[in-house]
Amino acid sequence: MRLHVDWTRCDGHGACAELLPELMDTDDWGFPIMRGEERDPAVAVALENHARRAVKACPVQALRLLG
């Protein structure tokens, strides 16, 4: 399972980074930034529920889980 950001939708609301701080931080302007090297990082099994919650929390539905 991978986490994907649709950058054309993302408006830097930031709820995602609050709910999934293991994978995401925010940049100077509030947009999420992945902590690792991958653009669409893999989500560890232990974090799957948190990831789902983060996806649901995005007010503009910019997040998706792949696979």
């Binding site: 054309t8 939708r9 830097g12 609301h13 709820a15 709910l19 509030g30 649901k56 503009v60 539905q61």
Partner: protein, 187 residues
Amino acid sequence: MTEALWALGRGTGVVALGMFTLTLVLGIVSRSGRDAGGLGRFGVAELHRTAALTGVGLIAVHLGSLLFDPYAQLRLFDMVVPFAGSYRPLFLGLGTLAVDLLVVVTGVSLLRHTVGPRVFRAVHWLTYALWPVALVHALGIGTDAGSLWMDAVALTCVTAVTAAVGWRLTSSYAERGRERTPRLVSR
């Protein structure tokens, strides 16, 4: 019994108005992307949702109590079709209109992952119509209309919404509390 039902109807109505006022204000705070009161951005959004759904629940009881109250003489028809009632048709009709709007907004919001962000956002604008309609309904309907405490409640709600909407219209709102350029949304 009928007095109890009438009181329940009035009570749930007033509290629901308070809930929707809180919902609207929290919606504006949430949209701003700011972390308010240490709740976190996700917390503000969830509180916005909880207040809204609480309001919906209260309205369900509001409608139910009035439906079963023989004094109120509310028909099921009047709960869906506005301005056809016999008791204070204008203000009652506004209440019905508010319920209609509420059903649409709530339905689409609960199904937002199915309808997509554009439809969700477009329908959500209706909340700016829903709130004033509900407010005017509350002011003119029922036996509390014109009473001092009712006016005080209404004034509080109006003040809160005016302040929030006023803030929404300032240019600094878009920056989300940090220096950034708002995006161009092409779709």
